[in-house]
């Protein structure tokens, strides 16, 4: 599959006379294949918006290369801009214009036919409110307008920076459906978000960023598999057999946590070995379930941002790959 978006070794340093320099992006890599819905995840201040801004030519990188739809950017931006629809960090609009005027002016600047304005207003559900001034819109309505402005070009690549910001549950679900529909029609969607359940539901692949570097990437199930710790839950026919089973498994070198009606095992390579071991002791397994990890847990582990009781984590305290950043505190939210 051809890459629609490629980033290699991207660097961006913000310099400030008072506070010195800050490496917002520190050799960041990213790749998105055509036709995917790609999730772009990272804690606050990890560099997501900076990446998207750089990609779209709004800020100047200090190093690295980027390509959009096979063209090197920022040089080829004028060529590809018509095929890349984007919203960057809850975009603002001129407050005294109506939604329709706002879109119609963008359509005019981008040589998009005027009928498209009505199409996108319909798509994002603003049809009946399009004659009102943006000033009077709620946060979620502004967000919808932003998505509409990005869709206006009918882009090949759609980049949305936290599009779920301010949306109601219905809106989030509609957005999810919309994105799936768009992806099915061949559009590639890159989506940064904090709502990990959302990302897990709609994304084919993800890139996770922490302190300006990539910490994980790939299809969602692969990322989950790589970071599942081999946790297994078993139940036996008779609850009274649990202590015997615990003893046998512990002797075999498996970490066991007891519960009233089941056992949790950690560090299991092959679930079959557990069945065999217990069968040899005449203990019969009634349920054996490998525990699926969810994206949120992987995210918290990879970025080392899981909350620790009694501590207030500061924004830049997260995983630094290849550096001396603190390792992730164990005891995240494993388990179902």
């Amino acid at each position: 599959m051809p890459a629609v978006l490629e980033i290699e070794g991207l660097r961006k340093t913000y310099k400030s006379r008072r506070r010195g320099t800050r490496n917002a992006l520190d050799g960041f890599d990213m790749r998105v294949d055509a036709g995917q819905v790609h999730g772009f995840l990272g804690p606050n201040g990890s560099g997501k918006t900076t990446t998207l801004r750089t990609l779209l030519g709004l800020i100047r990188p200090d190093g690295g290369r980027m390509a959009l739809l096979g063209h090197e950017v920022p040089d080829a931006l004028p060529t590809v801009a018509g095929q890349v629809g984007a919203i960057v960090e809850s975009p603002q609009f001129f407050p005294h214009f109506t939604a329709r005027d706002t879109l119609s002016l963008l359509a005019g600047a981008g040589e998009v036919p005027a009928v498209r304005v009505d199409e996108v207003l319909e798509l994002v559900g603003l049809r009946d409110r399009s004659g009102e001034r943006v000033k009077t819109y709620s946060l979620g309505m502004k967000q919808r307008l932003a998505v509409a402005s990005a869709l206006l070009k009918n882009p090949k690549l759609l980049i949305l920076d936290e599009p779920a910001n301010g949306l109601d549950p219905g809106g989030i679900r509609e957005m999810r459906t919309l994105m799936r529909t768009l992806a099915e029609s061949g559009m590639t969607v890159v989506l940064s978000s904090h709502i990990l359940g959302e990302i897990q539901l709609i994304c084919d692949s993800v890139t996770i960023i922490s302190l300006g570097r990539r910490v994980a990437f790939g299809p969602v199930d692969e990322v989950l598999a790589q970071h599942s710790s081999g946790a297994v839950r078993i139940r036996l026919e008779a609850v009274s057999d649990l202590p015997v089973a615990t003893e046998a498994l512990t002797q075999a070198g498996i970490r066991v946590t007891g519960h009233p009606d089941h056992l949790m095992l950690a560090g299991v390579d092959k679930p079959a070995s557990v069945t065999r071991l217990l069968a040899e002791k005449n203990l019969y397994v009634s349920e054996l379930a490998p525990i699926a990890v969810d994206l949120e847990s992987v995210f918290l582990e990879l970025t080392a941002t899981a909350p620790v009781p009694g501590q207030h984590r500061q924004v830049d305290e997260s995983m630094k790959v290849g550096g001396t950043g603190q390792p992730g505190p164990a005891g995240g939210g494993w388990g179902a």
Binding site: R53, L56, R60, A81, P95, L106, G108, G110, E111
Partner: protein, 338 residues
């Protein structure tokens, strides 16, 4: 081209643009109406009456200086101290020449097109330049501060093209208001002169001179519009341009003016911007240094003078535009947008 048309549309859709333009035009209309009602047509009878009054005044002056000279001579011969009330030579006490007492003084004001029209072009240009400045500043300033500029750049990534197209649309819009307004201004004052004064003695040379002054006025409007636009783009906020100008005028000009006059610098006005704007419109401003004036009791004061010409003003205006617009373009090219 589509971007240019879109920007023109954006400009005309903005309420600020509409209200400011309307306000400017209303003020201009008020000036014309005000001049209309404060002037009158003069007929032959009134003129003769005024001549008579001027004659009377002259007679009075004659009598008075006669008296004074007599008193002076008397004081001389009597040898009484006059504490400088009278000059050494009493014969210098003379009445003003007859032609110094003008009949116009005794006439209600009347609008002589040939004499007065050129002056009216100064407030015309000043009011529209002010309107152009704030519209220009707010047009791009609001775009920056509301994120509209960023949105637009996602569609049109060529930054300089975007900024210059916006400027071109703005200048076109301002010109589209200024030119008809100028035609109406000419027509309005022609009518005022017709009904409340005279339109006599107009030659093609006068017309040409008025036209040129009008053109310089339009150029002034465009220059100030550009400067407002460039300042707001540089500061990325409308308030930056307005604040900058207030700072320059109050601190730079007011403060400088006070400082210069305290230091009794010769021709202090030569350091102040309004002088150059005035010179641009009137072709020359003659500054006078009253400190170098040796006025005598009877003689006329002849202060040292210095001319500021419209050519000098044009250099100042060009340098101003080039520097400020250049800086705005440079910042547009180089600076991060976030």
């Amino acid at each position: 081209m589509s971007l240019f048309r879109t920007e023109l549309r954006r400009l005309s859709k903005r309420r600020f643009t509409r209200y400011m333009t309307l306000l400017g035009l209303l003020v201009l209309a008020a000036v014309v109406v005000g001049v209309f009602f404060t002037n009158q047509k003069i007929d032959a009878g009134q003129l003769a009456q005024a001549e008579r009054q001027a004659d009377q005044q002259y007679q009075e002056q004659m009598r008075w200086s006669e008296q004074e000279r007599a008193a002076c001579e008397q004081a001389k011969t009597a040898g009484t101290a006059t504490d400088g009330r009278y000059p050494d030579d009493c014969s210098v006490i003379t009445p003003p020449p007859r032609e110094e007492i003008k009949a116009e003084w005794f006439l209600p004001s009347t609008f002589d097109f040939k004499e007065t029209f050129a002056e009216t072009l100064i407030p015309f240009a000043a009011i529209l330049a002010l309107v152009g400045f704030v519209i220009g500043a707010s047009f791009v300033g609001a775009e920056w501060s509301t994120g509209g500029m960023m949105n637009l750049l996602l569609w049109r990534p060529k930054r300089l093209t975007v900024l210059l197209t916006k400027l071109a649309a703005l200048l076109t819009g301002i010109l589209a208001v200024t030119l008809p307004a100028a035609v109406l201004w000419f027509a309005g004052f022609w009518a005022v002169a017709n009904f409340r004064g005279s339109t006599e003695k107009m030659t093609s040379g006068t017309w040409q001179s008025f036209m040129l002054t009008g053109v310089r006025g339009v150029v002034l409007v465009l220059v100030l519009t550009t400067i407002g636009f460039a300042l707001a783009s540089l500061g990325r906020h409308t308030a930056m341009a307005l604040g900058g100008v207030v700072a320059v005028m109050v601190v730079g000009q007011f403060g400088l003016g006070i400082l210069l006059s305290m230091a009794s610098v010769r021709f202090a006005e030569a350091w102040l911007l309004p002088t150059y704007v005035l010179a641009w419109m009137t072709k020359t401003v003659t500054l006078q240094d009253w400190n170098s004036c040796n006025a005598t009791y009877y003689g006329e004061c002849k202060p040292a003078t210095m001319d500021i010409t419209w050519q000098q003003s044009s250099i100042l205006l060009s340098v101003g535009v080039v520097v400020i617009l250049g800086a705005a373009l440079w910042a547009m090219r180089r600076r991060d947008i976030s």
